[in-house]
């Protein structure tokens, strides 16, 4: 029966090629616009570490008090040196790391090559196992390397390619800011988007990844200044990087790994206890106002998904909606034009269900054709979305099997939904009236 409906549908569509083309174009454009913007939205709103994001937490300590809070009472979104060091010393989470963004120069060993600027982070050794960072060669460093301020470094695969031609450089040295560091690990391809471990400084997305990771305390000891945001509520009493460390300025990101709700509650209590201690010691003159958010909550709180991305998606979905209303109207016109034919079929014994099947098949074919056009347009759209959306964000949009399937599915399902009312009207055609008027 289906092949019969298929044939009927094709014949009907061929009878009015203009109307058919119009419907297919509308569905194609509507679906493609939605899918292109969706692919960008999907890329920026995705979970960068889905298997672990619920165990990763970002603590916030209120070291500024009521005057430094934002209008919704939020404490600063980064940590000052004093608090970050205290939390690291107490070591209450399963794993944790304070970190700050650095932008040191690397001087290639080859004579005559220009030095280059790289971006990176100063982190603790637990950073690597905590975030399941993949290594190509070697590994991270140990806790004793942290405390001994070892001059070790983990470099990206990209920098390893640039400096050592891609071969294992573990054990070799890299000159960073005029000082030799021993390579202990080379990262595999690792460029999580958003850059979830430090969204405050990276703004969430950047096409260039971190190239070097140094031990936090080593970087502090060698006075490697932070490169990211530095927010102060008062001018530091001493100048320079040391002055920054002694100030209440916030510039350090912090992440802790906690297994389960009980551990999170315990850590939350610990943060409040810590703030209360500081209050008793006279450093904070206000009640504890700490926060502990897991990674998805934190990304949401920091508005990592740019509002332009959301607005484009919404407007594109609006376009799809108009295209569907358009399709409902056109299908209605098309189906009712064939009232006579329907009347004959009904009079010859066709059930309403048969009429439904026939016309929904026709709608489905229109949807499928629109979907195929939509696929092509989505491919073109994703490839050229860098023209209209910020490049580092647009670069994340990918065409993959799931996007292609979704495009087809949305096109077919949406068109069949649009065909429901016209089909309903078609099935209500009174055979007697049609036959008489003919």
């Amino acid at each position: 029966m289906f092949s019969y409906y298929l044939e009927l549908a094709l014949r009907s569509l061929r009878r009015s090629p203009g109307l058919t083309a119009l419907m297919v174009l509308a569905i194609g454009f509507g679906v493609a616009a939605s899918m292109t913007t969706w692919s960008v939205f999907r890329a920026v709103s995705g979970d960068p570490i889905p298997w672990k994001s619920s165990q990763l937490f970002v603590p916030q300590i209120d070291n500024w008090g009521p005057n430094g809070r934002s209008s919704d009472g939020e404490p600063p979104n980064a940590m000052g040196y004093t608090d970050a060091m205290a939390l690291m010393r107490d070591h209450r989470a399963k794993r944790q790391s304070a970190m700050y963004q650095i932008s040191p120069s690397v001087v290639p060993a080859e004579v005559g090559k220009h030095p280059l600027n790289v971006s990176g982070h100063a982190v603790y050794g637990e950073f690597f196992p905590m975030l399941d960072v993949p290594f190509k060669y070697g590994s991270g460093w140990s806790a004793s390397d942290d405390t001994n301020r070892a001059t070790v470094v983990v470099i990206s695969g990209k920098l390893n390619q640039k400096l050592f031609g891609g071969a294992s450089s573990v054990g070799k040295t890299v000159n960073i800011e005029g000082k030799d560091y021993r390579v202990v690990g080379v990262l595999d391809d690792w460029n999580p988007q958003p850059r979830f471990y430090d969204v405050v400084n990276t703004g969430g997305f950047s096409t260039t990844g971190d190239d070097v990771f140094l031990p936090f305390l080593t970087a502090i000891q060698t006075s490697m200044p932070n490169d990211g945001n530095t927010n102060c509520n008062a001018v530091p009493e001493e100048s320079g990087f040391v002055g920054l460390q002694h100030s209440e300025c916030v510039w350090i990101a912090y992440m802790a790994e906690l297994d389960g709700a009980a551990a999170a509650t315990a850590y939350r209590n610990y943060l409040n206890d810590y703030a209360r201690e500081q209050q008793q010691a006279g450093r904070f003159r206000w009640a504890p106002n700490s926060r502990l958010r897991n990674l998805p909550q934190w990304l949401d709180n920091q508005h990592v998904v740019p509002s332009d991305t959301k607005v484009s998606l919404l407007v594109a979905l609006g376009l799809l909606l108009v295209c569907l209303v358009n399709t409902v109207g056109l299908l209605l016109a098309k189906f009712l034009r064939r009232s006579g034919e329907i009347g004959v079929r009904r009079a010859l014994g066709a059930q309403r269900a048969a009429i439904y099947a026939q016309f929904l098949t026709e709608a489905g074919i229109v949807g499928l054709a629109g979907g195929v056009l939509g696929l092509l347009l989505t491919g073109a759209g994703v490839a050229s979305v860098g023209w209209v959306l910020p490049r580092d964000i647009a670069a994340l949009a990918r065409v993959d099997v799931s996007l292609l399937l979704l495009t087809l599915l949305v096109a077919v399902v949406a068109t069949m939904l649009a065909g429901l009312y016209p089909t309903f009207r078609a099935s209500r055609v009174q055979p007697a009236w049609q036959l008489k008027s003919n």
């Binding site: 120069s105 001087v107 002055g243 959301k310 358009n326 409902v328 109207g329």
Partner: protein
């Protein structure tokens, strides 16, 4: 033209009528908001920066080795001398950042040392006495920095200078009655800084997001940035010699000292490129909204053509009867145009409510401005005209239906 028979006829095509009206309503709502976004972005990206953009370029210069502040200071002075000597260069200045360059410092300003809430949060550019001339900004009151007032700003150095130059917007924000010159301001410190000069217009480093309400609030500090983290060299080429200056300047710097880092791709940027980068997303958003609006309008127009054609086809017999009974071609044409106008009016009525509703919702969600009614009115007129234009073809075809059709069956 009688409206009653048209309304009576529309009652027989309730579904079609509602669908066309709904489509017009949705299109109006989306296009109004899209046009509003486009207009806002275009206004935003054509805002002047206040500097001599046509002949400016910037070099981001990083240092490859750690050194003492004094050494960097000496190097910066040598670099500047080398840049200023180039035949194609009018002037050059060191700066901690530059207008539209993206990142840099902002410093909260208070009017008394014991104030806890700041009055303004201007962008801060640290530079020397040549920075004003290099940028090409006009001093409208007071004086420029003297060479002997220029201090040094090392890494994470927060020393507040005794004198500052502020933009007119900042001056007006701090001292609305216009008496800013010579007044002390406090920048998170008990040490006052005196306003010695006011410049006409100077944009911030950043123009999006939270800085929007603080546009054009900026200030200059008399300090050479000499931190290990590097600095901007802002270079003003002689008229017509921008390209030559951009070629020569990095070479001159490398000739001075090789232990520096100037990114081969993004290290030297003309100001046109600086501007393009910062407004990239605004331009993109405007283009995207424009594309979607065009597709929307095209689809809606095509939909009206399709549906009206169907109605005309369905009513050929009635049209024939009307023609046989003495209706002129104009009457038939007028009938379909009026019918479309009525549907269109219904659509835009609903669409106006929708457009404003969507905008109000966006205001709460995305920090967007309120939609002005002018956009809605423009959209209403545009959609009604679009409807009339779309219906014209089918209506003309209807008007050519011969009275003979009345006598034919089917």
């Amino acid at each position: 033209m009688q409206i009653k028979p048209i309304l009576a006829a529309l009652r027989h095509h309730k579904a079609g009528t509602i669908l066309v009206a709904l489509q017009i309503a949705l299109t109006l709502a989306i296009v109004c908001n899209a046009l509003f976004i486009i207009r806002q972005r275009l206004v935003h990206l054509s805002e002047p920066s206040g500097v001599d953009e046509a002949s400016l370029f910037v070099i981001y210069n990083g240092w490859a080795d750690q050194a003492a502040t004094m050494q960097f200071d000496a190097q910066v002075r040598t670099d500047l001398a080398a840049l200023r000597q180039l035949p194609s260069v009018r002037n050059a200045a060191p700066a901690s950042s530059c207008p539209l360059c993206g990142d840099g410092d902002d410093v909260p300003v208070m009017l008394a040392p014991d104030q806890t809430q700041w009055i303004a949060d201007p962008a801060m550019y640290a530079g020397d006495e040549q920075l004003l001339d290099t940028l090409g900004v006009k001093l409208v009151a007071g004086r420029n920095f003297r060479a002997d007032e220029i201090g040094k700003m090392g890494s994470r150095d927060f020393t507040v200078p005794p004198v500052v130059i502020v933009s007119r917007t900042l001056a007006d924000r701090l001292f609305p009655r216009g008496e800013a010159l010579g007044k002390p301001i406090y920048m998170m410190s008990n040490t006052p800084s005196t306003i010695i000069g006011i410049v006409d217009r100077l944009q911030r480093q950043n123009v999006g997001g939270w800085t929007r309400p603080y546009a054009y609030q900026s200030m200059l500090w008399p300090m050479r940035p000499v931190s290990s983290q590097g600095l901007y060299y802002i270079v003003r080429a002689k008229p017509g010699q921008l390209a030559a200056a951009m070629r020569e300047a990095p070479k001159a710097l490398y000739a001075e000292d090789r232990m520096r880092i100037i990114d081969p791709e993004h290290g030297t940027l003309s100001f046109a490129e600086v501007r393009r980068r910062i407004y990239d997303s605004d331009l993109g958003m405007a283009i995207l909204m424009g594309l979607i609006s065009v597709v929307l309008l095209a689809i809606t127009a095509a939909g009206i053509v399709g549906l009206t054609s169907f109605w005309v086809g369905q009513r050929r017999k009635q049209i024939g009867v009307r023609r046989a009974l003495g209706a002129t071609r104009r009457d038939i044409l007028g009938y379909f145009l009026t019918e479309n106008l009525l549907i269109g009016l219904g659509g835009v009525l609903v669409g106006t409510v929708l457009a404003i509703g969507i905008n109000l919702w966006m205001v709460t969600q995305f920090e967007m401005a309120r939609l002005s009614l002018a956009y809605v009115m423009t959209g209403v007129v545009a959609l009604l005209l679009l409807g009339q234009g779309a219906v014209l073809g089918p209506a003309l075809r209807a008007s050519r239906v011969s009275p003979v059709e009345a006598t034919r069956s089917v």
